[in-house]
């Protein structure tokens, strides 16, 4: 599963490397629409695939740097936050049929974007002081919030409502422990 998901990530991500904002550091990344999708529908394997996919993407596009460690951690935490929210925190199961649930998804996305920006930006700032950290943080924040909202939400609606994907629950073992 992790391999397939990583491959899908790379197929979507790599071509967009031609659209760079800060060459080698920040680009326009519609692949981030998969951030909530991997977390909610595929659980931990999805989170791992998302983080590995990001790392391999950096490697393939010749932008593997020390800050990629921060990128790896942030790209695991991003989908994981969606997974945790809809399984542990939200009182209703994942569904984007109502305005209320859409608003919840929107809020989680913003929280995720803030978390990822806080993790990645200091790593880049410490390793490469010549890179404008404000522009970098803005790009990360926009990428991680805009794409999961404008592309990710419709994709999840399509997957759940029409292609009949079901959100991944926490494992039975853990549920039994709860």
């Amino acid at each position: 599963m992790v391999l397939i998901l990583t491959a899908v990530y790379l197929v979507v991500a790599v071509p967009f490397k031609v659209m760079s904002v800060i060459p080698g550091f920040a680009d326009i990344r519609p692949v981030l629409m998969l951030n909530p999708v991997y977390g909610i529908f595929f659980g931990i394997p999805g989170c791992i695939a998302f983080a590995i996919g990001n790392l391999i993407g950096d490697l393939l596009s010749d932008s593997l740097r020390w800050s990629s460690i921060g990128g790896f951690i942030a790209n695991f935490i991003g989908p994981f936050l969606f997974y945790v929210y809809w399984n542990k925190i939200s009182k209703t199961p994942f569904s984007l049929r109502t305005g209320k649930n859409l608003l919840k998804q929107l809020c989680v996305t913003v929280v995720t974007a803030v978390a990822e920006t806080i993790i990645i930006t200091p790593m880049v700032e410490l390793s490469y002081p010549e890179v404008s950290s404000i522009l970098f943080a803005k790009t990360v924040m926009l990428n991680v919030s805009v794409f999961p909202i404008v592309l990710g939400i419709p994709l999840m609606i399509l997957m759940q409502e029409e292609l009949h994907f079901t959100p991944k629950p926490f494992s039975k073992k853990k549920n039994a422990l709860r």
Binding site: F16, I28, R97, V150, L151, I153, P154, I157, L158
Partner: protein, 304 residues
């Protein structure tokens, strides 16, 4: 998928379409639009067919020749309006040309009426607002336009409106992915035929590079495979008129991109006040179409 979700999907489709300009910036001008259309449609059809082979086979077994004929009609209509727009846009500058696409919103309810289909009062209000927006945005730039340009764009918009009406009908009867695949296949065949006539060297005439391949690939899966399929799914729940009003937001998104994206991705244009006012009217028209006022009224009365 409920109506709210369908509208969200249509907004997403419109947003994807509006990024065409950014993606096209990766493809050199000497690559013919028919070449781009053939390659991207073929790749998209192949991706979708590979992912949903069983589903497509089942629908083909159920619907048989009927779905092929319907997709042929849709493919021909799409190719026809694409060609009209291609030649019509030569009479306009970029921003004015983009606003003329939105004329479809005005033409579509008329097409629906001629086909004896009803149009909601709410839709008419939205149409008037969007039309006001277009007039505001085009304003003085229309005065210097040649009549032929407008005539070609008007025919293109009429064909596009007919395409949306038919797509909306067919989407309610057939599997969305199968429709999307066959529309892409027909589009690819027509584009290839024209490409061969205009540029017999075909693939040999394309200045291949990593950027060109990336641009074509992005267009194929992002605009054709993803946006087109999402559009067909959303059409199952939306009305043709409602969907077209939402599509008119494309110009609003394009204005935003040209104002906010960095210069290495797009030619930056600061929109004029008329463009901004026009865009606001279009947003207002779309909001009236998207918001379900009856549902809000029902909720209010329940609380009372």
């Amino acid at each position: 998928m409920n109506r709210l979700q369908a509208n969200l999907c249509l907004i997403c489709v419109t947003l994807c379409w509006s990024t065409e300009v950014i993606i096209f910036a990766c493809i050199p001008d000497d690559v013919l639009p028919f070449a781009t259309s053939f390659i991207t449609s073929a790749i998209a059809a192949a991706i979708l067919a590979a992912c949903f082979f069983r589903r497509i086979a089942a629908e083909m077994k159920r619907a048989g020749k009927e779905i092929l004929l319907r997709c042929l009609l849709l493919g021909v209509l799409k190719a026809a309006y694409d060609i009209m727009f291609l030649y019509g846009l030569k009479y306009f500058d970029v921003s004015t040309g983009a606003f003329t696409f939105s004329i479809t919103v005005v033409v579509l309810p008329v097409v629906l009426l001629t086909m004896r289909k009803s149009v909601d009062k709410k839709t008419w209000i939205s149409v008037v607002l969007v039309l006001t927006g277009i007039v505001f945005a085009l304003g003085s730039s229309l005065a210097g336009t040649q009549v032929w340009g407008l005539v070609i764009m008007f025919i293109g918009c009429t064909l596009r409106a007919l395409f949306f009406v038919k797509l909306n009908d067919f989407a309610k009867e057939h599997d969305s992915i199968t429709l999307s695949v066959w529309i892409s296949v027909v589009g690819a065949i027509i584009s290839f035929a024209i490409w061969v006539i205009l540029q017999p060297a075909t693939f040999g005439a394309i200045p291949w590079s990593g950027t060109v391949i990336a641009g074509l690939f992005i267009y194929a899966y992002f605009i054709v495979a993803f946006a087109q399929t999402l559009n067909v799914f959303a059409q199952k729940r939306a009305t043709a008129a409602g969907a077209t009003i939402i599509y008119s937001l494309e110009i609003v998104f394009s204005l935003i991109w040209s104002a906010v994206l960095p210069e290495n991705l797009i030619d930056r244009v600061i929109p004029s006040p008329f463009h901004v006012i026009g865009a606001l009217f279009i947003v207002a028209g779309s909001l009236i179409e998207i918001i379900d006022f009856n549902a809000i009224r029902r909720v209010k009365s329940r609380h009372e």
